[in-house]
Symmetry: C2
Subunit: 214 residues, 2 copies
Amino acid sequence: MRPGKSDRGGETRELILVTAERLFAEHGVEAVSNRQVSEAAGQSNNFAVGYHFGSKEDLVVAIVRRHAESVERRRTDMLAKITDSPDLRDWVSCLVRSNTEHLASLGSPSWYARFIAQVTTHPSLRELVINEAVSSPSMQQTIDGMFRLVPRLPEEVRQERSYMSRLMIVHMCAERERELHAGTAMPRSTWASTAAGLVDALVGLWLAPVTARR
Amino acid sequence: MRPGKSDRGGETRELILVTAERLFAEHGVEAVSNRQVSEAAGQSNNFAVGYHFGSKEDLVVAIVRRHAESVERRRTDMLAKITDSPDLRDWVSCLVRSNTEHLASLGSPSWYARFIAQVTTHPSLRELVINEAVSSPSMQQTIDGMFRLVPRLPEEVRQERSYMSRLMIVHMCAERERELHAGTAMPRSTWASTAAGLVDALVGLWLAPVTARR
């Protein structure tokens, strides 16, 4: 059966999303125009991105949402398992593995981790993506669970360490994805091992004593 | 006295370096061409970058070297003070503060921290900049001092945590620079406070226990 008009529209949207994700991951969001995305996605109409998504910001959010459901589902499953665990490691693990297991499910080459690293380094798009993540109820539940088990911290330290945690997860995943793609990953370098390293490091980060600020 | 030809050449070089640093910091290294740098630096010759520096890689390395002497001097002074300190915090502090104190000395607006964040997120330029940093004898001495005081770690964990440490320093500094520039920094948000937060976090990271890898 030949796909109907709306199915073809859906296919075009999907093709644009996949193409944009790869181009942004490889070259940076700023360096790639909507026209270049349309062309690389084989669209004869150079305004295909605009037609299907609107602005570049809208396109970026659409790419994030394309992955969000899978991450969200994994996080919800993990939360159901740890219920009210008193072990900080369980909550940090949920934060990390909902992402690494999604990335593992994409196979290689994947581009999403590098796309996210590019977007979160971008001055204005960063906010968009962080707001998307933080607005998720399961994400909020994970963060609340973590904070219940972290010693009381001054607000500025809490914000600082949240930012550092995000940095580590985003860029370590991008680095691993790059290695897997280039074939330079060590035989034992897997997404599970990346997650284990991140969980150890983040638990250390959150439990680190705070010295007085000047 | 009118500057001689070679002085003018030096001024032009300096003007190109400062302009390129700002443009790369704002828009990303990939998004800015050598021609755009030449134009923004007010050069009538669009090939001024090529003439004075060669390739974009050469330009990036020249920007890094323009700052390296100050960072290097600070690190050497700090190392002379801590000599063979048995406190990991002293060595981590040297690693962090040689950078934050250099950035503080630049005043606001500065662009160097954001420039470095952009460059170290770039797939190929990253190596160039990391090699520059690691080739410094005082950097090597700082790292050796740190590793003497960190519990024995599997090589892959050591590499992973080195990478995480770099990420945190680079991106926290870029974030602070961005805030200072935008005027959104809290009154007590200073480079010294950024350094204190980073030192606490990195000590926690390096001392974190390692759980078995899958």
